[in-house]
Amino acid sequence: MTARIDEIVCPVPAGPAQVLLAHGGGGRLMWRLIEELIVPALGDDPHRRSLHDGAVVTVEGARLAFTTDSYVVRPLIFPGGDIAQLAVNGTVNDLAMCGARPLALSAGLIVEEGLPLDLLRQLMESLGRAASAAGVRIVTGDTKVVDRGKGDGLFINTAGVGVVVAPHPVEPRAVRRGDAVLLSGDIGRHGIAIMASREGLAFETTIESDCAPLAAPVLELLAAGVEVHCLRDLTRGGLGAALVEIARTAGRRIAVEESAIPVRPDVHAACELLGLDPLYVANEGRFVAFVAPGDAERALSLLRGHPRGVGAARIGEVGGEGGDVVMIGPLGTARAVDLPSGEQLPRIC
């Protein structure tokens, strides 16, 4: 059989036909999965269009924030935290990022056959402690056990509801030109802590996860009347992915100053060694706040006065139309900040 010359096409690789681990990495692949496969299948709904950390729904006049998240992490206990603390703090933080006071959580456990009961008990006690530390109650739950080999010891899903206390919508679309970008502390600790404990990488010091509940500092900003336009906790994909997502949704250019972004020397060293960019390394206890420029300094000093925001810094500002992020480097030159493709992978040499 011969092909006609105009039928010959260049071989362009199609997208992957199956889910890759990289689809869960918080980068472009994950966003395409959400925007092209998941959201369209669910039909159009204005709550989903903003794709924020949680949804705000009005129920008989009350504005409630509602969110859910699933937690998979290996090892289950790592320097600075464990899967139970992640499961509480992650959902509490998603609620806080909607400008809400977290009220109650659910906890769904998927336990792998063979998990030592002592370990499960230890993690459930941690779950309870984390909830009381974050000021929420775990009011309902579920337990399933799966065959050995079908789970990674323990998966936890939590959902949460909170009551919105922010007077205006706190979401990417509310970001305005001139807004100050505040970061609540140093970045990259959680990702490096997990990688180090998972891969047995020994650094000179033990780097601990930054895992922490963030509702208290957020509520403090709101209670003080700071004009907060958008909040986002930094998780997978790190600060870089959070800024890019917000810039895109807001349709604005965000400019940040690399030297203003706090990175601890040990985290910086580990990143240099592994060829990772701290900008994209995961966090579990940090957030960015977009606030009106006139409130920026007050917000910064409020944050710095809080134990969860001691290392807060003003890292940049929102510019005009754009939908992208630029970073001014230490030499004064600008570079683009894009979403990572999938997971960050260590380099060869």
């Binding site: 260049c10 199956q18 472009r28 992208d324 230490p330 060869i348």
Partner: protein, 368 residues
Amino acid sequence: MKFVDEFRDGAAARRYARAIAAVTTRPWTMMEVCGGQTHAILRFGLDAFLPRGVTLIHGPGCPVCVTPLELIDKALVLAARPGVAFCSFGDMLRVPGSAGDLQAVKAAGGDVRIVYSPLDAVRIAGEHPDREVVFFAVGFETTAPAVAAAVMQAAAGGLRNFSLLVAHVLVPPAMEAILSSPRSRVQGFLAAGHVCTVMGYAAYEPIARAYRVPIVVTGFEPLDLLQGILMCIRQLEGGRAEVENQYARSVRREGNLSAQRLMTEVFEVIPRAWRGIGEIPKSGLALRPPYAHFDAEQRFGLTVPGAPEPAECISGLILQGVHAPPECGVFGTRCTPDHPLGAPMVSSEGACAAYYRFRGPHLEEGRA
């Protein structure tokens, strides 16, 4: 961070820019050999510090990029084989073979593991005597000594389930191949500092003489690169073609002799095909006969059909410095890090990936 921030100082960079402008009287084109240098140049926007007419072109120093398609296809076949645990540096997982990549093999059930050191693969082999553990030995002279050490450790431990898919390549023969090409625009080289840390730089002296090109062994931080460029332009302007060492805090002329001894013990030099460039004499490493039983290609009798490169991908010309990524017609459109047509778009040392990552898909210029 100590010993890093000092080399990223803006005021010092501007002093170098003034010094470079002061010595430059004509246009010059230099090639930085290593992909790590390319990424630093794009990340820190170093071209903004160079006078008009001074051009940096990007060299072949991305080990992932130059690994031939055939070897990647062999890796995909091996990784998909039941009973094999295929260990690789993370960088290799997204590199497209002719049918998919290692990431996809993993998703389809292949036992693909990311390791940080070849010694991790030896450890895995020791812990899993029931599995054939294959390490994808990719890299330049920088990673070869650690791989050699792993082979010697496996030999000493009597491991029978450990083998290597060897893709090691050597830098100086590639520099010579580029200079021999009639299309070469290279007037001076910034040689790869890490390669020279291991190998020293005596091997570059005959190249500098034969081709009349200055070669400056250069580091990876912004000030290293600017100083290397200054040293190279001084030679060009003065009509000199010598080997100079900018990266003296790491590199000695003779290199790291114990690392070289390990390499020589385990490996021998062979001709090797470079993806996008073709076969280069004396440019690759293979296991010496006493270690040949660790060769995965022999152990598994691997043959794969030859496959053509995607027609639109000009990575061969990019790797030789004939074209820069922005000159490629499919950059940022049909070729992106999510759907790469060639390896330079995915590797953390690839030139296309550097432009995409730091200039964006639309290649915006530095906006300092």
